[in-house]
Amino acid sequence: MSNPQDFRLPDVGEGLTEADISRWSVQPGDIVEINQTLVEVETAKAMVELPSPFAGTVVTLHAAEGDTVEVGKPLITIDSAPDASPGSQQELNGDAAPAVEDDAEQAELLVGYGPRPAARTSELSLAGPPSRDVADAADSTPSAAPTTSGTTRPAAKPPVRKLAKELGVDLTTISPTGPHGTVTRDDVRRATTAAETRPVTEPEHAAERRIPIKGIRKHTAEAMVSSAFTAPHVTEFVMVDITATMRLRTAISARREFREVRVTPLVFVARALLLALRNTPEANATWDEQAREIVVKHYVNLGIATATDRGLMVPNIKNAERLSLRDLAESITGLAATARAGSSTLEDMSHGTITVSNIGVFGVDSGTPILNPGEAAILACGAVRRMPWVVSDGESERIEPRWVTQLSLSFDHRIIDGQQGSQLLADTAALLEDPGLAFL
């Protein structure tokens, strides 16, 4: 006798309504034990592994990896009494039964724990709550009946299921030819041959590809829209000869204490910005709409825009203005590596005050960066190129190949004006052109 049971997505975090399926640990046909991990889901609060409440054979996964499932909806069906004789009458009846979902019952079970409908009426007696036999309740609760949401569980003997699993064939996609509608070995083999000749699910020449908007993409989109349509952006540009900085970089990299440290041009740009901010602290600020105040920060949490496999992340370096060049370089390398590994913490990503974006790594010269929400300014630096540059003046004026880059600074015009924005950008450029100015 088969006894398929649904495990519905529980609210695992006090008030959650949905979760994204990150990774299934089991597949249809797998035998699972109680508390064996079935799936990893990502909720608004955390990544959570869900252990199996049943021992048995996995029948159906009701959602694919990447899908969002509502709390209370079926996640997986597990047969806790797998049939020894597939094709028996009971199972066929079970399979053929239309998948009826009782809406009212489902609403009651939105959260798994707490009162169950089966027991509720009897609890109202003044005589006090009767004890409830769990087995009886399960039998009388509609949820115990197979509700496979329209997916028919294919009947197949265990060796056939094993074969299908080995060959990677989904039994639900097969038209059975065996007695009583069972899937046979031949059906499985035919399915593999068909799969080889049929086009793959996503044809090479598909005209479109649809990507669900979720995770970091969704977050980035919301942040950019909110920033672009609340903060009036102004972007200014400057082209700067950073040959002196490049020489300094070579000299510093050769020093013993910098042996293990990657000193990229970005490190100097970041350092120059931090020094320039001393002149224009108003650019390190946030617009507090609720309080009707501009909050000028006396600390700089420097965001580093980082391209990762999962999308754009902007972790920030706390109190970057206090760091030495070496510590700053280490922080930038470490922060970016952590972000690329996908292990940035919420703290890494929160409380940024100003951002640097190195678009030069993509080989481009300039752009108009959009502010990280809540910040007043963002600096983009372009590729560092060998360019002809007019040096000196008077008789010795000449053209020389120099290291040149472009900086662009976007700022929130609610918070600062062109004067402060230009000052910040010009000061940053001046420091990179002549790092000796840092002595002043």
Binding site: P10, K45, V111, G114, E123, L124, S131
Partner: protein
């Protein structure tokens, strides 16, 4: 400027069992092992951990709304609980699952609170184990109040071992920052009350590290209030037992309060609704799992020849049976009737309340009928 002692200050950490499972002598703590059932300690450690992991699984399966895990804190709880006498009274937080079990509270009734089928779950006087207190630090004042009652009952310092009573109040490091806790310390000190404050310093008050709560080790706070404080290795069940036993004895004999800081670590997140990776590093957690309280006790029992493989496999069997009982028992927990809150408000229900209860019951029943007739 005077030098300020930091949390890393030189407060001695008392220990009887090292992380590698070797028994060692301590100048302050002593434990006559012939008076201790070390095998029972080990069994309770294992069962406590199993209760915890099974409850987490039940929460992830939607059977519990929430579960505060005690993983890593088993030794502190089991050690402290084994020092209690029957007449002593315990005031727990909401994480003392190990203490509850050692005290004889049915673990299934612990699950009821987190399943939402009850607001309490057990009779506090049945095992002298008060209901879980979710408000941080509130139980310290309840404990002090109870201890004042003990004094007025002349159940302190009478010399009668069956009569003299102590109160054991549990608290966490976060509770040290609460007003109630400090008030409780003051009352306990000035009245020399028979209360022992057992602070499991698991180093994280949800996401706030201990360093944001205090500049000095927790144990050292007691001196400022005027009673002794001691810091023990909270992952060493023998040290926790010895320190609590000493402190409870002193309390019963009229020697006043003690603060025990059991330095331990909350290996899991604050509760099942929390994600610890957002505020602390995996490396830190890994370091603490290396000081596991169960592993060292297992090593100690094996190398000292105090337990054989049969004993360990028997404990494992008991653990499996407990898990099975929890799974079935949790799902079979009776759901509360509508009259329950009325019934639990007064010892003797006043006529007016009885009237309200009937009205409420009739109202709910009429809703059921109209639903059924639709």
């Amino acid at each position: 400027m005077a030098e300020v002692q930091t949390t890393e200050g030189n407060e001695p950490l008392h220990q009887l069992l090292t992380p590698d499972g070797t028994a060692e002598l301590d100048g302050t703590l002593s434990l006559d092992l012939t008076t201790v059932d070390v095998r029972a300690l080990y069994r309770d450690l294992v069962l406590t951990r199993r209760l915890d992991s099974e409850a987490i699984a039940l929460q992830r399966q939607g059977e519990l709304g929430l579960w505060p895990s005690l993983l890593g804190q088993e030794a502190a709880q089991v050690g402290a609980a084994h020092a209690l006498l029957d007449q002593d009274m315990v005031f727990p937080t909401y994480r003392e699952h190990g203490v509850a079990c050692c005290r004889g509270v049915d673990p299934i009734s612990l699950l009821g609170l987190f399943r939402g089928t009850t607001l309490g779950g057990w009779d506090p006087y049945d095992r002298n184990f008060n209901l879980y207190t979710l408000v941080i630090g509130a139980q310290t004042l309840h404990a002090v109040g109870y201890a004042m009652g003990v004094v007025r009952d002349d159940a302190v310092g009478s010399g009668d071992a069956d009569r003299d009573t102590a109160v054991l109040a549990f608290l966490g490091d976060g509770a040290l920052s609460e007003g109630e806790t400090n008030e409780a310390f003051i009352w306990a000190a000035t009245q020399q009350l028979p209360v022992v404050f057992f602070c499991q310093n698991n180093q994280w008050a949800i996401s706030a590290p201990y360093s944001t709560q205090s500049r000095i080790p927790a144990a050292r706070r007691a001196a400022g209030f005027g009673f002794p404080g001691i810091r023990v290795d909270g992952n060493d069940v023998l040290a926790c037992l010895a320190a609590t036993r000493d402190a409870l004895r002193r309390a019963r004999s009229g020697g006043g309060p003690t603060l025990i800081e059991a330095l331990t670590y909350r290996v899991n997140a604050h509760t099942t609704a929390d994600d610890a990776s957002r505020y602390r590093s995996a490396a830190e957690t890994e370091e603490w799992t290396g000081r596991d309280p169960l592993t060292r006790m297992h090593t100690f029992l094996s190398t000292e020849g105090l337990a054989d493989p049969d004993f360990f496999s028997d404990v494992d069997k008991q653990s499996d049976a407990l898990a099975e009982r929890l799974r079935t028992g949790c799902r079979a927990l009776a759901e509360p009737g509508t009259t329950l809150p009325f019934e639990h408000t007064y010892a003797d229900m006043p006529a007016e309340l009885r009237h309200q209860m009937r009205e409420h019951h009739d109202f709910v029943a009429s809703m059921e009928r109209s639903e059924a007739s639709q």
